[in-house]
Symmetry: D2
Subunit: 154 residues, 4 copies
């Protein structure tokens, strides 16, 4: 996949997401990272439940997550969230996120997700099926669909 | 500070912390990172409220956070959490975390926190006061107190 | 106020809102109750921060909350939330909530909120100002503004 | 069951549980209600996972929840939580909760939980098995075990 694929959605910072410093309690940003990915799944006609039904995967477990918090946000702020996938590894993929408010970058980060299914009652890491990649690409902001699946980055 | 300082506390994974994949919904691990630091503050005779009262800081805002998820955990698991600070920068510090279950490492990660106070109604990054470092050191698992404050790592 | 006032907003049930039983972990419904009220505030040109600035109130503390869970909901469900206020007491008011999915009632409940401000460094329950009532009424789904403020219900 | 059964556990209010009004964001109290019940299950040698395995129940779904908030609590407060069951209905039971801080009552409320299992791929409300009642009673603060199962209260 030479052309990255991406997806954009929106969130509102709510009162209950903020801490006594009057800014977002930072774990909530990871909730928005995850939720941005879930929105992408839905726009691709998928859901975690459908992935389980079709592929036996249980969630799409996070191997690693990172975030850099540049500017704080608070109750009532409207966040635009962009998720972007540059390449898919055979058994995992990285999603880069950018949260902006009126085009100002607030938070950037990423998740590495695995493709893990239950085989004979044990969880095993399995190759990402091409139809999953194609479904995410079909819901991408960008026109060109992903071309190939690349080896996992170290 | 040549000797790192550290602090250990415990958490239980609760039903409401887990997602439909029956494992912890990953943003909760960052809640435990943050909460581990809050426990350390309390064992040092401090709290966010006291830091505000004494130093004018509002929270100890997170600049960056990272986690690597090695083994999943679920409802009822008992987690031991260790926080460790190697050095303090002049205006920020990094806390490394390790979450284990029966001595098996489940999650490791870190936060970078800033020392930010309201000065003339504006938030400003300020030097970390030595008494804050001394207080955390006094509640450390390790005997030796931190020696010096080092320059911020890039 | 003889005519009730009401406000409608929408939420999506996210993966992270659901528990291992694959349905919403019930405390989240109260998050949506609260958030529905915050949306109403914003559509009325208000926010908790503005209420603090103008009236000295700190939040609008909940005295009591109730919910009846009729039908479960899960990841991806679109919830329509309706908040309704029948009357305002002098110092508190009750908001009734209905959460529906495709017009099917899922959850109904209510909150009683107080009007509490810091006076001489102590929290005191104070009369709800008419301009607050008028602001919520101006953002109501219904045409007629609230008429009068009634005594608190026991 | 003429003698009520009860269970006591403890929680700490954390920074991330509090909102910009510097008090607990109220939905978290329901998290503690639920978690108090989960602690009771564990002290009775049970868990939601074991209930599923043994009885086919999926969670113990909440039909109704209520709370009255008398005194606010904040970051660092130690809460003692008591759960109490007066009687079990045939297919549901009510748990009364009291959260106290240094013996001062902060929050009181209750949940009604159903016994619901998947039968032929459909959720059905089923009679609460006596061994479940006996297990909770065995972990009760009180000596006398529950005697009989009463009809559901309206």
């Amino acid at each position: 996949m030479d052309t990255p694929i991406s997806f954009t959605t929106e969130f509102t910072v709510e009162w209950g997401d903020c801490d006594p410093a009057r800014i977002v309690f930072y774990p909530h940003y990871f909730y928005w990272f995850d939720t941005c990915f879930q929105h992408w799944l839905r726009h691709a006609g998928l859901s975690q439940a459908l992935l389980t039904e079709r592929h036996g995967v249980v969630g799409t477990p996070i191997l690693e997550a990172h975030a850099k918090f540049l500017v704080a946000s608070t109750d009532g702020d409207r966040l635009e969230a962009e998720a972007r996938i540059e390449t898919f590894g055979p058994k995992r993929f990285r999603i880069d996120y950018r949260l902006t408010r009126n085009e100002q970058l607030l938070v950037e980060g990423w998740e590495v997700r695995a493709w893990v299914a239950k085989v004979d009652d044990r969880l095993r890491s399995l190759p990402i099926p091409p139809e999953f990649v194609a479904a995410l690409a079909s819901a991408s902001n960008d026109a060109a669909p992903p071309a190939v699946v690349r080896p996992d980055r170290p």
